[in-house]
């Protein structure tokens, strides 16, 4: 182990889950033991919620319905635009409407196993328990899930699950679920129960006497920096895939809220756990600003291949069968093109690293439908995937029925995030973290259709039943924005904003972001090695120094300045990137979506190391030049027994 990279601190553990009762009784028991807040007192308690996605929107609506005074902040113009809106596939729930043997226990089991034994069993079990109520809630709100002719809800099997437990609304499930939460939130806004702060970005957390008591924000249109206080703060600010610059996240998705909370003392868990999705539309040029995901279902009928020869730039239709390498079918005869996301992604990277990639920059592989079209007819393929072929055509200008598609993996989701206990409370009392922003329930790999489930579980059902235990101590001593801690936080935000605007160097913010993203993709992406990670760890501090001396941020503070917003976010991504690389380097095992070159089986498959790494790595922030401190949360598997994945 490389001790200069980090130091080891005290272990950490969740103390909220009632482990004295069996796992399937713990959530009920926790709800029972959690202290309640008298309805009359709730009106006197205020909660800040940052974000309006599935987690934030549902939490804001639910806490307002319960009678708390909610202050909701988001950076987009409308709560309806949070990036949850872009989720395509579906949402899992253990309803067993198909009578195919599904149950809470099976969903729990699949999720723990899918997370490659790096998630906390108690949390995952609770997630499975509340999954059914989410569907009930959404249907009551009018979410138009897909239905069958009998009028009942349709289900499908998703992401290789053997049961059909995924509820969906065509390819726009996230959109419809988000609008359900958004409408519930707008209802509470209309009733005056939620104070709304659109186009407002959280830039710091105010911690008073060890408790989270407020946030410092910048209004993106007016540039006004202000401090808002409350009795508790909830972060629902999403994931950090944009540290890679190119990802399937929205352009505005960022780590800033979570990172600034981390800098104020909240531990950041498993930052290196990111999910890479194998079927995205490849990059077409340097100007590329984001990547677009295409449903994984395409692999059901498409065959993945690259030319056998390097640098073969012929039109794919001109390449004869015997000069093609259907590498997934070759390496994994049993699963073929349907191997899990991480394996499909990693092999795509391997063949392109060999110089056999196709398309602009050689960063793509073919997904070919010729066989399926011959077997089922073009009509059938159109009926199944027409919208995806149209989308592909719109973006690339190519007719995929003729040429096939070019696909490449892209970063899609981050399992890491701020460490939380069973109550979803971070290591700062009064700071709760929900949805993708916490490290939560997916371990080292998230299953398809589980992100929507987790976001809504946290917001509708978990947080509203745990935050009361904290708020029952309230009302807390009254503090306002004149408190020295608040003044200090606001001043530091002002100082950073002024600093960014005053550097006036020669490189744009985007150029730093692109360089950082490329570095992270190359060395902290699908496959990591000590050598690569050390390279990244050498370069990142240089990028940081250059950023703070040579960045050029245009405009001024008092106007709508998107360049300034971006600069602040990139500054945080640079710091996060360093921690991600430290985390990745210290975790000398292949697990979940991550392949560590030094940890593989003789056949070259991922090798998990349960003996040394069956823990959550929760990192404590330290100032620059002081190595971060690692706090381990040991993971114990009392129900699902540790087993190695195999897809050969």
């Amino acid at each position: 182990m490389t001790l200069e990279l980090f130091t080891v601190g005290e272990p950490i553990a969740d103390t909220k889950a009632p482990r004295d009762v069996p796992i399937n009784e713990r959530w009920n028991e926790r709800k029972f033991r959690a202290r309640l807040v008298n309805p009359a007192n709730r009106r006197r308690l205020s909660v800040i919620i940052v974000g309006t996605g599935l987690a934030g929107g549902s939490a804001a609506a639910t806490l307002a319905e319960a009678g708390y005074r909610v202050k909701n902040f988001w950076f987009q113009d409308s709560p309806r635009r949070a990036h949850s809106v872009a989720a395509q596939g579906g949402i899992n729930a253990a309803k067993n409407y198909r009578n195919d043997g599904d149950s809470v226990h099976r969903l729990f089991y699949d999720t723990v196993k899918g997370g490659d034994f790096r998630a906390r069993e108690d949390n995952v079990h609770r997630l499975a328990e509340v999954s059914g109520a989410i569907i009930d809630q959404c249907v009551a709100q009018g979410v138009p899930f897909a239905r069958e002719y009998g009028g009942l809800l349709d289900n499908r099997s998703f992401g290789g699950a053997q049961v059909s437990r995924t509820f969906y609304a065509r390819g726009q499930t996230g959109q419809q679920l988000l609008y359900g939460a958004y409408q519930a939130l707008e209802r509470q806004i209309g009733l005056g129960n939620v104070e709304q702060h659109p186009r407002t970005e959280m830039l710091d957390l105010v911690v008073v006497d060890g408790k989270a008591r407020g946030i410092v924000v910048r209004h993106l249109i007016t540039g006004e920096i202000s401090t808002h206080m409350a009795d508790a703060v909830v972060l629902a600010s999403g994931g950090y895939s944009n540290v890679f610059y190119l990802s399937t996240n929205a352009k505005g998705s960022n780590v800033t809220a979570a990172w600034r909370a981390h800098k104020r003392g909240a531990l950041f868990a498993n930052p290196c756990y990111t999910q890479i999705h194998p079927t995205c539309i490849p990059v077409s040029g340097d100007y590329q600003s984001k990547l677009t995901l295409m449903s994984e279902s395409l692999r059901n009928d498409g065959r993945v291949w690259v030319p056998k020869e390097r640098g073969d730039t012929r039109d794919p239709r001109q390449i004869p069968e015997d000069e093609r390498d259907y590498y997934l079918e070759r390496i994994y005869p049993a699963f073929g093109n349907l191997v899990p996301r991480d394996i499909a992604s990693r092999q795509a990277k391997n063949v392109t690293d060999e110089g056999r990639g196709v398309g602009p920059g050689g960063l793509g592989v073919y997904l070919d439908f010729t066989d399926a079209i011959q077997r089922l007819g073009r009509k059938a393929i159109e009926a199944k995937y027409g919208n995806l072929f149209d989308m592909y055509n719109r973006i690339t200008g190519e007719d995929a029925y003729e040429t096939g598609m070019r696909i490449y993996p892209a970063v899609h989701y981050t399992m890491g995030g701020l460490w939380v206990d069973y109550d979803l409370q971070s290591t700062i009392p009064g700071l709760f973290v929900i949805g993708e922003a916490n490290f939560s329930d997916h371990g080292a790999n998230r299953l398809g259709a589980s992100a929507l489930m987790q976001g809504l579980a946290d917001g509708y059902f978990v947080l509203p039943n745990t935050i009361n235990d904290y708020l029952a101590d309230g009302p807390f001593p009254k503090v306002d924005a004149t408190h020295p801690a608040a003044v200090e936080a606001e001043q530091s935000v002002r100082a950073q904003t002024e600093k960014l605007l005053s550097i006036n160097g020669t490189r744009t913010v985007a150029s730093f972001h692109r360089e950082l993203g490329k570095l992270m993709w190359d060395y902290c992406g699908m496959e990591r090695s000590e050598e690569g990670l050390r390279k990244a760890l050498d370069r990142i501090p240089e990028i940081r120094r250059e950023f703070w001396t040579n960045v050029k941020v245009s405009g001024e503070q008092g106007i709508y300045n998107q360049n300034l917003e971006h600069a602040g976010r990139v500054a945080d991504f640079i710091e996060l990137a360093e921690l991600m690389c430290v985390d990745a380097l210290h975790r000398n095992e292949s697990c979940g979506g991550h392949f560590r070159a030094e940890s593989q089986t003789p056949e070259g498959e991922a090798l998990r190391d349960d003996e040394n790494f069956a823990y959550v790595a929760a990192w404590e922030y330290t100032p620059e030049d002081v190595p971060p401190v690692l706090h381990r949360e040991a993971l114990e598997y009392e129900v699902v027994h540790l087993a190695q994945r195999s897809y050969k």
């Binding site: 702060h197 202000s226 924005a481 002002r494």
Partner: protein, 239 residues
Amino acid sequence: MASVATVTTQPAQRRAPKTGRFSNSVVKKTVMAVSGIIMILYLLAHMVGNLHAFGGAEEFNGYSHWIRTIGEPAVPEQTTLWIIRLVLLASVVLHFWAAISLWRQARRARPVPYVTKKRVQQSFASRTVRWGGVILALFIIWHILDLTFGVVNPAGTGTTPYDRLIASFSNIPITLFYVASMLILGWHIRHGVFAATQTLGQTNKKRERAVNAIAYVVATLLTAGFLLVPLSIAFGLID
């Protein structure tokens, strides 16, 4: 020292919605639709009545007289006619009130015009409906002064309806104005029938073709029917 900021960047407060029924834009549209339908029904009757001109002066004047005596002797002379006139007047006024009110709302809705604005699907009929309405209003005034009262008729007042009819449409400029107005009426009705159906909530994807077809048929029927008599006079088929 950092200033202690309070919330000054709250979004615009929700504007108080107007609760009066007749400030509701859909209600205004409904008023327009219903008054429009009343006028179309009248126009159909009017158009059929006009065809009496083909029967010669006696028949036409007789028809004209009949209108004034419907219901006699149960009710005094011209009672029915005045009822029709009042209903029509009310329809015209309401139609105009709704149009002007919606027009003003539309102007408020776009205080800064586009430098460049193209049409994607807007039809000629829908585009011309507002100015067409203004022209039709002017036409109606002239038409009443011309053929009902004879004030602006070449044959003058104190003549028979048939005399006024022949006098007007023997005059080429008047005939051209009339023809132009009827074409505008056709376009107005083509959009109006569709819009009224939509406004009354009666269109859907399945009915869309049928509604459009009906709109075309009604518009064509009225325009053609109204043009038949003046053109016949102009071309000397009636004299």
